[in-house]
C-alpha cells in the first residue's frame, strides 16, 4: 500500500513541478535552520578527542561568598582559590578524577632566540592527562611525582613547537616562561579549537608557577558513571554547608557543579539562582526559536497542502465511496506529504553542513581554519533529529488540511464542495 502511496506522491510532485519546487525549497530552508541549531549544539556537547569524557564531567569555577552581616558579596566566576580546592574539593571521594587547571598569559622566549611570544599556558595537574586524551607525537606528559615536585616541564602543541623551534626537535630543549626556564618534555598533536576546556598553546604543571597558592582554578570532576552525578552534586552541597558553618558570617555559593551541556550555556553568573534562571531563559528562547522555525514554513506549506488537496477532493470522495476509512485517508495524505518533507529534509541537512562549515566563526566561535570533528556532524542522534524535525513539520503543515478532507462527507467530496 505504501508503495502505491509513494508512487502517487512522486507522480504528484512531477505533475506540479512549480509548487513541488517551492514546497521542497521551503522545507529545505526550515530543516537547514533547525539542523544548523541542533548540529551546532551537538558539536558543543559531543565528546571527541581530547575531550572524550564530556558526558561524565562536572565543572566548578565560581566562588561567591556573602557576608550576612555587612551584606557584602565577593565573587569570582572564573576560578576557585587554591586553598579552598585543597581543603574542601580534593578530599571528595566519589569522582574518579578531580582535575584543576589554571589558564595564564605568559611571555615565552625559546632557547637560543631573542623572539618573544605572548602565549596562553594552561597550568594543570598530572590527572589532566588522564581526563583528556591527547595524542603525543613526541615525549610524554609530566608524571604525578614531577607535578608534586613543581618541576618546570612543558608540553607543547604541534603549532607552538613549530612556532618556537621551527623544524628542530624541541624535546629536551628549554624555553623561558615568564622569565623562568622550562624544559620541553612532550609535543601533542594539534587539537580542535572546539575543545575549549583543554585548549592552550602549551601545558605546564601548575605547581611550577610562582605563587600558585594564590591563584584561582577551574575544577573538572570526572564521574565514574553519569548515575554518580546526584551523589557528587550532594557532596558539593555538603562542602558549601561545611564551609559556611566553619566561616560565619560567610555563606558560600559554588554555583555548581554544572554538567557539560549546562556549562557551555553558562553565561558566567556568580550565583546558583541566576545561573538556573539563565538556563531556564535559554530553554524558553530555544523553544521560541524552534517554534518559529517550524511555524512559519508550516503556515506556508499548510496553505499549499490545502490548495493541493482541494483539487483532489473528487478522488478522495471516490475512495471514500468505495469504503476507505477516515484514518486511511489521513495517513495517505500525511505519508504523501512526508515524501516531500523528507526530500526537503535531506537537502536541508546537506545545506546545514554547508552553513556550519562556512559560518563556523559565527556559529562555533572558532577560527576559519579550525577543524570540526566528523563524529559530531554525522551521528545517529543528528539523523534522528532530522527525521523528528521532518515529522513535526509534516504534521504541522499537512495535519489540519488532511484532517479536514478526511472528515468531509462523501457527497461534498465528490461535488468538490469544500466551503462547509
Amino acid at each position: 500500500m505504501y508503495r502505491i502511496y509513494f508512487k502517487q506522491a512522486l507522480q504528484m510532485l512531477k505533475q506540479n513541478p512549480f509548487i513541488s519546487i517551492i514546497s521542497i525549497l521551503g522545507t529545505a530552508l526550515a530543516i537547514m535552520m533547525i539542523m544548523t541549531v541542533i548540529v551546532t549544539s551537538e558539536i558543543q556537547n559531543a565528546s571527541f578527542a581530547p575531550e572524550v569524557n564530556r558526558d561524565r564531567t562536572l565543572y566548578l569555577h565560581t566562588f561567591t561568598t556573602w557576608d550576612t552581616i555587612t551584606n557584602i558579596q565577593n565573587s569570582n566566576s572564573t576560578g576557585i582559590p587554591y586553598s579552598f580546592c585543597k581543603d574542601y574539593i580534593l578530599p571528595i571521594k566519589t569522582p574518579e578524577l578531580i582535575v584543576e587547571t589554571d589558564l595564564c598569559q605568559t611571555i615565552v622566549k625559546p632557547e637560543g632566540s631573542n623572539d618573544i611570544h605572548l602565549l596562553e599556558a594552561l597550568g594543570t595537574d598530572a590527572d589532566f592527562w588522564e581526563l583528556y586524551t591527547f595524542t603525543f607525537v613526541q615525549g610524554k606528559p609530566y608524571s604525578q611525582e614531577e607535578f608534586e615536585s613543581g618541576l618546570r616541564a612543558a608540553v607543547l602543541r604541534e603549532r607552538t613547537a613549530r612556532m618556537l623551534f621551527k623544524d628542530e626537535n624541541p624535546i629536551g630543549k628549554s624555553m623561558e616562561v615568564n622569565f623562568l626556564p622550562y624544559r620541553i618534555v612532550g609535543v601533542v598533536k594539534e587539537i580542535s579549537p572546539l575543545a575549549k576546556e583543554s585548549n592552550a598553546a602549551f601545558w605546564i604543571p601548575y605547581t611550577s608557577l610562582p605563587q600558585y597558592e594564590n591563584d584561582i582554578f577551574r575544577i573538572m570532576l570526572l564521574a565514574r558513571d553519569k548515575s554518580d552525578f546526584p551523589k557528587i552534586k550532594q557532596e558539593i552541597a555538603d562542602v558549601e554547608r561545611k564551609y559556611t558553618l566553619a566561616n560565619p558570617p560567610l555563606v558560600l555559593d559554588l554555583n555548581g557543579p554544572l554538567e557539560h551541556r549546562h556549562e557551555v550555556l553558562n553565561p558566567g553568573y556568580p550565583h546558583k539562582t541566576k545561573t538556573e534562571h539563565a538556563l531556564r531563559v535559554h530553554k524558553r528562547k530555544t523553544v521560541l526559536l524552534f517554534s518559529l522555525l517550524l511555524l512559519v514554513p508550516a503556515l506556508n506549506l499548510s496553505g499549499f497542502s490545502l490548495s493541493r488537496l482541494r483539487k483532489r477532493l473528487d478522488e478522495i470522495g471516490i475512495r471514500k465511496a468505495f469504503g476507505a476509512r477516515r484514518h486511511v485517508i489521513l495517513i495517505h495524505v500525511l505519508f504523501e506529504n512526508l515524501i516531500t518533507t523528507l526530500i526537503g529534509g535531506a537537502i536541508g541537512l546537506l545545506l546545514s553542513y554547508l552553513a556550519i562549515f562556512s559560518l563556523r566563526r559565527w556559529l562555533l566561535e572558532i577560527s576559519a581554519d579550525g577543524t570540526i570533528p566528523g563524529q559530531a556532524l554525522v551521528s545517529f542522534p543528528v539523523f534522528l533529529a532530522v527525521f523528528a524535525a521532518c515529522l513535526l513539520l509534516n504534521l504541522f503543515s499537512a495535519g489540519i488540511p488532511a484532517y479536514r478532507v478526511a472528515r468531509m462527507p462523501i457527497v461534498d467530496s465528490l461535488m468538490q464542495n469544500d466551503k462547509k
Binding site: 517551492i22 521551503g26 605572548l118 615568564n178 524558553r284 512559519v296 503556515l299 506556508n300 499548510s302
Partner: protein
C-alpha cells in the same frame, strides 16, 4: 475597489487565513528583529563621550619573584610611573599618556560612589546621588579627548592648591548630574562632597564635561566624579595606562612599539606585556551585551529566513489561487477588464491582506513591549526610557517592516499576477 477586494478576500477566507496568520507572525518577528538591530546599531555607533580612535592600553606585568604590595616596590611606584611616562613620551608619535584607576573606557573596572551636592555633611533630608568614581592623572582628557565646557583639566598635583573634581552629566542633553532615578541640574552645583579612596573631598567642581560619558556595558547611565590620581595610587601593574598615538604614526603601532620599547620598558620589577587597542575592549563589551556582530548576524539570518518564507508562501498560494480562479478571471477579461486591471486586482488583494496583518501585528508588538514577555524569552532588551528611546523608534520599525513586506509581497505576487492576466477569455466559456 477596496470593498470589492474585501469581498474576494472573504470568499477565499479559508486559504487567506493561512496567509494572514503567516503575515502576522512574520510581521511581529521582523518588528522585533528591526527594533533589536536599531538598538544594537545605536549602541555601536553612538558617541560615548570618549574618542578612542588611535588610543591604546599599555599592559605591564610584574616579574614572578616580585609582588606589587612589596613595601620597597610600593615606595618606588611613583618614580617607576614617571620613568615610564618619560620613556613612552619620547617614542615618536605619542601624543598623550595617562594613568587611571577604574576609568579606562570599556575595561570592565567600575567603582561606584556617592556624592552630596551643595552641602558639607550628609543628613536625613539631604539627597545622596549614586555616581561612578574614577581617579585619573592629568593627561586623561587629552588621551580620550574629553571636552570640558567649563573649567580646565586636572593640573598636576604639585601645581594645585585645592582639591580638584571633574564631573560629567549623565543625560544625553548634558544638563543633569546624578543618575536616572535621582538627578540635579548640573549648573546648580556649587560644591560636591564625595567619598573616595583618599577619604572625603569637598570642593567646587573644577571642570564639567560637555557630554555625558556612557560606557557600553553599563546598563544605566551615571555621572562620573573624577579626582586626580594621588601619588600613592600609582602602580604600573594595577593602573590602567592609556596612550594616544598620532594618526600618521598609527600603522602596525602595537607590534612596532612592543618590539622597539620592550627593553626600555623593563622598569624595576615591571615589564611590558602587551599594547591593546581600546577599540578591542569596546568590541568585547558589545559582544557581551548581545549586540555584537555575531548576534546581529543571527538577527539578519532570522529576518532573511522569514522574508524568504513569506516570498515562497505568497508565490505558491497565489499561484494556486490563480489556477483555481481561471474561469472567474477569464470572465473578467471577457467582460472587458484589461490585463493591467487583473494584475492590479491580484496585487491589491495581497496588499490588503498585508495591511490587515500589519494592523493586527502592530497592536500585538506595541502591547508586547509594555509587558516583560520579551525579556523573559531571553531576547535582549533595554530600558527605553533610560536611554531616551521613544515612539519614533516604533514608527521607524513599522515603516521599515511594512516597506520590506510590501516589496517582498509585490515581488512574489508579480509572477502569478502576470499569469492571471494572460488567461484567455475562452477559459471562462470552457468552464462548467
Amino acid at each position: 475597489m477596496i470593498q470589492h477586494l474585501f469581498t474576494i478576500i472573504w470568499n477565499e477566507r479559508r486559504s487567506n487565513t493561512w496567509i494572514l496568520l503567516e503575515y502576522i507572525v512574520v510581521f511581529c518577528v521582523l518588528w522585533f528583529c528591526c527594533d533589536y538591530t536599531f538598538i544594537a546599531l545605536r549602541t555601536y555607533m553612538r558617541e560615548d563621550g570618549f574618542d578612542i580612535n588611535h588610543t591604546y592600553r599599555i599592559e605591564m606585568g610584574i616579574k614572578p619573584d616580585c609582588q606589587s604590595d612589596d613595601s620597597t616596590i610600593k615606595s618606588q611606584a611613583y618614580f617607576y610611573a614617571q620613568t615610564l611616562t618619560e620613556r613612552v613620551k619620547r617614542y615618536p608619535g605619542i601624543e598623550a599618556i595617562s594613568f587611571a584607576i577604574c576609568a579606562f573606557p570599556y575595561f570592565g573596572c567600575y567603582s561606584s560612589g556617592e556624592a552630596i551636592i551643595n552641602s558639607d555633611s550628609s543628613g536625613a533630608d539631604i539627597p545622596i546621588y549614586r555616581i561612578r568614581a574614577a581617579q585619573v592623572s592629568s593627561g586623561f582628557s587629552d588621551v580620550f579627548r574629553i571636552k570640558l565646557r567649563e573649567g580646565s583639566g586636572f593640573k598636576p598635583e604639585e601645581e594645585s592648591t585645592q582639591p580638584q573634581i571633574i564631573i560629567t552629566p549623565f543625560d544625553h542633553k548634558g544638563k543633569r548630574f546624578g543618575n536616572f532615578y535621582e538627578s540635579v541640574d548640573i549648573d546648580s552645583i556649587k560644591t560636591i562632597l564625595t567619598d573616595q579612596r583618599r577619604g572625603q573631598i569637598l570642593a567646587p567642581p573644577s571642570g564639567i564635561t560637555e557630554r555625558p560619558i556612557k560606557e557600553i556595558g553599563v546598563w544605566s547611565p551615571l555621572s562620573y566624579v573624577c579626582i586626580p590620581l594621588p601619588r600613592e595610587g600609582y602602580d604600573l601593574y594595577w593602573n590602567q595606562i592609556a596612550i594616544r598615538v598620532a594618526p600618521e604614526a598609527d600603522h602596525d603601532f602595537p607590534e612596532r612599539f612592543i618590539k622597539e620599547m620592550r627593553d626600555q620598558l623593563n622598569i624595576g620589577p615591571y615589564y611590558l606585556v602587551s599594547v591593546v587597542p581600546t577599540q578591542k575592549y569596546r568590541q568585547e563589551n558589545i559582544d557581551d551585551l548581545n549586540y555584537g556582530e555575531g548576534q546581529l548576524f543571527s538577527t539578519y539570518v532570522i529576518m532573511g529566513f522569514v522574508i524568504i518564507n513569506v516570498f515562497l508562501g505568497i508565490l505558491g498560494s497565489f499561484w494556486f489561487r490563480i489556477q483555481s480562479r481561471r474561469s472567474e478571471i477569464g470572465l473578467r477579461i471577457a467582460l472587458g477588464s484589461s490585463k493591467r486591471k487583473v494584475q492590479q486586482l491580484v496585487v491589491g488583494e495581497t496588499l490588503l491582506l498585508l495591511v490587515l496583518a500589519a494592523t493586527i501585528g502592530t497592536t500585538i508588538c506595541l502591547n508586547l513591549f509594555t509587558t516583560n514577555l520579551i525579556g523573559t524569552l531571553g531576547i535582549p532588551t533595554i530600558d527605553r526610557n533610560e536611554w531616551g528611546i521613544g515612539w519614533e523608534q516604533d514608527l521607524l520599525n513599522f515603516l521599515i517592516v511594512f516597506g520590506f513586506l510590501t516589496i517582498t509581497s509585490i515581488g512574489a505576487v508579480l509572477y502569478p499576477a502576470r499569469k492571471a492576466s494572460e488567461i484567455s477569455p475562452s477559459e471562462a466559456l470552457r468552464s462548467e
